[in-house]
Homo-oligomer: 803 residues x 2
Amino acid sequence: MTETAWQRRTTPATEAALEQVDAWWRAANYLSIGQIYLQQNPLLREPLQPEHIKRRLLGHWGTTPGLNFVYGHLNRAISDRAQRTLFVMGPGHGGPSGVACAWLEGTYTERFPDIAQSERGMQRLFRQFSFPGGIPSHAAPETPGSINEGGELGYSLAHAYGAALDDPELLVACVVGDGEAETGPLAGSWHANKLLNPAADGAVLPILHLNGWKIANPTLLARIPEAELVALMRGYGHDPIVVTVGADDEDPMESHARFAEALDDALDRIAQIKADAAAGALEERPAWPMLVLRSPKGWTCPDEVDGTAIEGTWRAHQVPLEEVRENDEHRRLLEQWLRTYRPEELFDEHGAPRPIVTAVAPPGELRMSATPVANGGELRRALALADIRPHAHQVDPTARGASSTGSTAVLGEWLAAVLRDNPETFRIFGPDETASNRLAPAVYEVTGKQWNAETLPVDEDLAPTGRVIEVLSEHLCQGLLEGYLLTGRHGLLNTYEAFAHIVDSMLNQHAKWLESASRIEWRAPIASLNYLLSSHVWRQDHNGFSHQDPGFIDVALNKSADVVRVYLPFDANTLLSTADHCLRSTGYVNVIVAGKQPEPQWLTMDEAVEHCARGLGVLPWAGTETPERPADAVLAAAGDVPTLEALAAASLLRDAVPELSLRVVNVVDLARLQQEDQHPHGLPDAEYDRIFTRDRPVIFAYHGYPWLIHRLTYKRAGHEQLHVHGFLERGTTTTPFDMVMMNGLDRYTLAIDVIDRAGLADSHAEVRQELTDARSRAKAYTREHGIDIPEVADWVWRGAPSE
Amino acid sequence: MTETAWQRRTTPATEAALEQVDAWWRAANYLSIGQIYLQQNPLLREPLQPEHIKRRLLGHWGTTPGLNFVYGHLNRAISDRAQRTLFVMGPGHGGPSGVACAWLEGTYTERFPDIAQSERGMQRLFRQFSFPGGIPSHAAPETPGSINEGGELGYSLAHAYGAALDDPELLVACVVGDGEAETGPLAGSWHANKLLNPAADGAVLPILHLNGWKIANPTLLARIPEAELVALMRGYGHDPIVVTVGADDEDPMESHARFAEALDDALDRIAQIKADAAAGALEERPAWPMLVLRSPKGWTCPDEVDGTAIEGTWRAHQVPLEEVRENDEHRRLLEQWLRTYRPEELFDEHGAPRPIVTAVAPPGELRMSATPVANGGELRRALALADIRPHAHQVDPTARGASSTGSTAVLGEWLAAVLRDNPETFRIFGPDETASNRLAPAVYEVTGKQWNAETLPVDEDLAPTGRVIEVLSEHLCQGLLEGYLLTGRHGLLNTYEAFAHIVDSMLNQHAKWLESASRIEWRAPIASLNYLLSSHVWRQDHNGFSHQDPGFIDVALNKSADVVRVYLPFDANTLLSTADHCLRSTGYVNVIVAGKQPEPQWLTMDEAVEHCARGLGVLPWAGTETPERPADAVLAAAGDVPTLEALAAASLLRDAVPELSLRVVNVVDLARLQQEDQHPHGLPDAEYDRIFTRDRPVIFAYHGYPWLIHRLTYKRAGHEQLHVHGFLERGTTTTPFDMVMMNGLDRYTLAIDVIDRAGLADSHAEVRQELTDARSRAKAYTREHGIDIPEVADWVWRGAPSE
């Protein structure tokens, strides 16, 4: 084994080498079937008895033999070329394969010492599969070598490309199932080859595995003429190699020879592209090779059972033989099937794999099940994070709100420094929103948008290598970022708030991965997945109702409190402090919502750091409370627009109802509202009560759907006195202030609600009326002129009397 | 105009005809720019003054001229062929185009009489655009002729194919933007041509509109070699025709001639395919034509402004000329630009379009803006729904729970009747789940799965035409269903509960469409979008954690209460009654969650109908309450598994704590928990109190995340006494009963909680301990044997003593 990456084939695939691959394949197949069926007698030392069979037969055979086949062949090639390789298993229910191969490579035993390479270990390996408290029937965090959960389909190729970024000597072999290939996210991911740099990034070898069937249906790509399929792959920018294996009348060794040849061909072509790229000799985007592997679904299982065809049909998808415990004939068929693999040739008398099986596997970290790349936390290094203070927006505490700036633009300046200081480990992804979200121009002063499709002279900021990747697919953006994080790097996804829902399901799956991984000892923590949601619900001046949806927060907070954090910074400095915190963290999904439009600035950097460290707190300068005069009411806010409205309401109240003692609270970290036992960030009840009181009315202006705040606080004292204003799913194409008015989140409504809840409605009927009239004037003016009234548009915090 | 569909070209595109198209194009462009800029002086009767210009310039020009171009050419072809045509506008920000074309056709004025074909009407048309309370900058429900919201991108092609189903004489011209084309859902939708039947369904003509740019980036498909693009389209199964228009040095009339020729060619090929299909002469799936239209972004706007290139760059995406009110030079440029269209030739002295413009438009319902297909409620007819009673599962009220069946299988029998009785207006869609969800075999006894890719002898239930469509893309399934519903038909999407999150964003957008449409007088109500979520969180025996997510309900309930309904039927008969109700309804998104596994059956059909009509109610046979002895506690449940556990808990308590007076409540319609002012289904407080009491502890076993129940009920009396058990995001690969144990939703935990909350913990310590022990035994047995203990697995309701 040499250290040179991207070698061409050094040794032809001799018959002897292919015999080893075949032994690997047979052993992995045997172990896969054992997982589905056996709880005892793993080596078939005696004829199968009912008690050897699991009581419930659960699992998936269909895609597994094809995966085992590919894995064995990759091993041969890896051993030959000393090629560092990550295996991404797209086919959902290939779980048995990943586990079997990791066990054969010894990694499974290294990761789970209880499951040794022995008869007993094999029995445990079999038993845990699809068994209560065991492992699922698809690749999962528990599977050594895996970065791609096989449950929800569609993300394997995006994960593969994300893993390949900035790792120029890495090969990512990505098996795409023909079921998965029907999903939208996967269909859109093929174009990621135009976002990869052939010199600075690794290479992805897609292997489209056509076994022809899903659960109960054929697959589309297996049922189009080969010319169409080849055209499709060429259209995606690939140079496809089609290999068909497993014909009924063919010696498997011929299948092996054919696939070995195709794989070597593909890898040699990749080596050539890499060599050309390294030499600067690539004149245009290369047509990367890819493999199409046609193999029978359930390959090598019984042709038919009870007169019904099984192998090569959808009936092989799950458990080809049912009722094996009860049905003697089925049990006999199972035994016969298992013995076709000649287990005695594959495993020694103790149950360990024999050299004929293990010979093809590469050593150490070249084993795909043992590569540190698939346990990215091992490779992760903390980011070099520039001090946020020099990037702070200067706020004069005696004139808060007097200066206005776009908070995300301030963040962009700091992110530019992060990009500059971490040139190989930090990336920003976005669906064409990075400029719109005002992270540009700053970030493009230090880097470009990576792009390897054609360019034109008029283009700006595109570059063959660059730290920003933009493509109008939220799925692809998130998939790339996940792949990048799972292999030990850091990043940020910036996108529209409303359209973050497009990746709800990816958030769910990634959060579940993090949650499961946190309970697996050998999985080292990876960097958090950071969302920056800008262009939010309140600022959709020309886009209207379809762009108004703050519900991504709700989806996030349904996931385990151990892995989810939601932040609503309300100005530039709280945004900086929040982002700094998030980029340091590991193991979380961090959702940051922050507006991109110019907005008043409130806290100095010191104040912002302290406020964000607490996650919430009183804004003493905004209220009228004094030590002598405890608050009559609390006006709380979370989010930039709600805080602006709450502060304006506080200002109105100071003038109009000076005798009211008002406390103003801001919440940046939503989880602090929860109780200690509900979330690690949950505030102890006593602290909560100190901030929100136990018995005063709390009027809460919230960025999103108001019921979320009730959900987080329903066990708190005084919950019945909590009145939340938020987005009520009322929207249209209109000005920002009209939007808050439509949803009752505007300063006038908030001020009136404080008056009412504080019991001052009767005594202050005139003030109330004035506020109501002002609100009506604002509405009329907006509808007449298309802009907000000057009192609103130009409103500046006038400061508390004491300042 | 003749009535024959699918005519070939009757008249060549003469120079005179193309002059008319050009006039249309210029007029639509003029009106589009007017919408973005002008609030007065719409006909340019005088030189532009600052006060003629809107105060805020919002909108999108970039894609608009290309859309106007396509629309004008389609009009010529429609007029020539009398071809009934639906226009689907994919490019997100083409709003000005749809509005301009509808106004030119007279439809806008028919729909909104205030906006006449006059100078004043034109001024109003301009003013409302991107203006508070007006219309957004993308196609929306307000746009006559639209079924595709242009906000969130990715669904145009799926909508187009859905619209084409079962309407064999309909042409759907679908413009796909090159931005949208990058999204996963769109990339996966091209394959829908394999799901269409050339004889029984309409035809879709995709027009890929490459203007080369998104907001700030080039598009991928515009930056690959043409050979790759053509290969991609061939790979998708199309026969592409590429047309480039708008070269700087070309007379626009040459562009017109070239595109007219290409469009006629495409339509003639479609006519040929349709003729062959009608004659039974199609031997294989046809390669449908599609058009690639390359045109400059912002075509016909100023080449450059202030020395910066605009036309043909991303800078033309929104407003090409900024600060037109303030900047005299920009205002001069705008006027010059507007005058290039020669408005005096296009509009008469009153502001109405002249005959040279309108000549190309077809009459009446052939106008794409006026086709009833785009206002599907006009075409919708109620389904013929078979009586559910003959399909009921027979429940013996003296032995409830004794019979067990899969509830979705019972539903399948009834759905088969619905499919049979509505052979052209009802379809079932699913991502390969229809059989797995047990709707098969029943539904396949009356229909097949429509499939026009290759078939093999081993295939089952595939058919060239069939009422079930399966493809492993939730996005495509939902997009097809939406297109089908929006054009006046009915349907059901059945899918995995966890993976319904894949279409969260589509649910949001469709709900917003329904909400907006309900406020538009001329939009007739369409059939509800019905989800059947099976394979739910509690039954993932071999799939584990990644498949466990009940949060789709939460996403749905964030949308307007006017359009969302969530149902949790708990047995076959409540499921039948619910489905019957949902298929009769219009204007809603109905989410039905129901398990597919065999489960005990509880209510007779009569009881189920009554229970579902109320949406919730006491199950008198399950409790121990008597008129003399009001309930000490309430045990409530929503969902099939929670209700089973609650009933088992009630049974345990009856035996163990006979002195406890217990009321058992079941909730099918979740919205009933809300208050009257929050949801139209909300229960009045008095009724709620009668069912749940005001002061007794309520132990609530809920299917999903428990906080949802708190969110729905937080304003109810006695809320602090409500204790919800639900999914706590704790899951793994295990038995159903182990799952409920992991989340504290099991019968033992529920019974113990009732004892504790009823204040009986001390007096019944022994009972409590027995229950705890039983729970531990169940856990140990499951982990040992992989199945539930017989006491759980074989548990049958033993009936109340009185029965």
